[in-house]
Amino acid sequence: MAFEPREPQKELKYDELRIYTDEELNNYTEEELKDFKIKHDIPDVEELEKGPWPSFVADAKREALHRRKLAEDRMLIERDVVEDLLGQLQVSFDDGETHWKHGGIVGVFGYGGGVIGRYSDLQEKFPSIAHFHTLRVNQPASKFYSTDYLRCICDLWEYRGSGLMNMHGSTGDIIFLGTFTEQLEPIFYELGHVLQQDLGGSGSNLRTPSCCIGRARCEWACFDTQDMCYELTHYYQDELHRPAFPYKFKFKFDGCPNCCVASIARADMSFIGTWRDEIRIDQEAVQAYINGEIQPNAGAHAGKDWGKFDIEKEVINLCPTQCMWMEDGKLMIDNKECTRCMHCINVMPRALRPGVDTGVSILFGAKAPILEGAQMSLLTVPFMKVEHPYDNVKELIEKVWDWWMEEGKNRERLGELIQRWGVPKFLEVIGLPPMPQMVKEPRSNPYIFWKEEDVPGGWKRTIEDYRKRHVR
């Protein structure tokens, strides 16, 4: 299906929207950078520049030099914001504690998220970062950008913010780091009305949904992740921007079980593409892999000599459910035992492909907090067909939200609520029968309890009656 935007979209042309000239953007030389010192002494922060990896300190110094050489009227917040930021970081190293104050009443009108308030508690020493608010900008689906788009948002942020950004935050948004309160509304206006972008989610909101690259480039995508991400982002605008949840809630869309956006590890509701028919096998290509005519893993590990490809050792014996074998030179798969680990498909992409009857598995309750309590999501809906406009999915989402909003404690994630109430209660809420796939050890774990109405005769059967047939 071709992409149809919800509203007419214009193509962003940098030449029409640009704020800075080429001379202004390239206003320093590498020689000048070598001799450049910021106004604060930052020995510990500079330690971070050593070692083999690129460092944010080196990047920040470039930005500091760039801002120092821009004309005064070409930036709307203080020019030495980056220098003060590094200076305060040094003080934090010295003191062993942070000097940021977090939160407060900052935001843009009508939105309860998207802006994270931040203030320095050393405002006299570092006046340029007295305010250092963060904005989250909703990334395009699969993070597809044009160069014009990137240049436009960079110019805007240089002009009205610190020029420092984070590509991307863990939820996927583009993060604008550091501006003053009075710049928030103008930035919001420019983003919305000129650049046609929206803020992302923060706080107790639906967080910015994110998806893998999907059908745009990947033949394994079992559903159109970008379309579903776009549709649900638009449909749930109110939930994204006006907080009413007990805490954060994340959707993530993975086109196949390779889980490229790691939905299983961090989304409260993970959508993972799957198939319910059989893995497609091209037996000729299997032979070509065995004979070494095609590189395994599409050549991803070709830099080193691993020896001849051994299908027995590298594919069949690594199958977690041992559902593969060779028979008369042909690769066989017992598809009903397959757990969709994707290993065989990843190793031999030319020979094996996902089935054609595709849809999603829906899992609930993952979270990945910074300190403790990380939890993977629970497979709840093994298979669901998904097609635009996703009414079946929306119905499920709303059942879950209604329950969580009603019963969830403040700052309790969905996964914690499911733990507190138990899986049977959760299944009752969404109206699904318990299935062995939901239970880690179906034959030994009394996870699912019977209810009186589920048992013929209820709890009222007499033991005497039972003993008549079963002698002690």
Partner: protein, 76 residues
Amino acid sequence: MEDIKKAILDFAENSKKTKFYFSDMEKAVRKVIPDAKARAVKKAATELINEEKLIFFSTGSTSMYGLKGRGQTEDH
């Protein structure tokens, strides 16, 4: 809708804390209007925000509501 809005404002003016979670606001509304739906309470709260009577408040990770002018104000 108007009675929900009134219940929210009553709660916002008299609550012990000046910033509160949505669910606490919802509970307070339920005390006055027992069959108020969460979605209706949310819509009423959004209208009050648009009328500039309520404000959103962010802790950095969680969002709360507050009465405009009560407690911590815009100029922190």
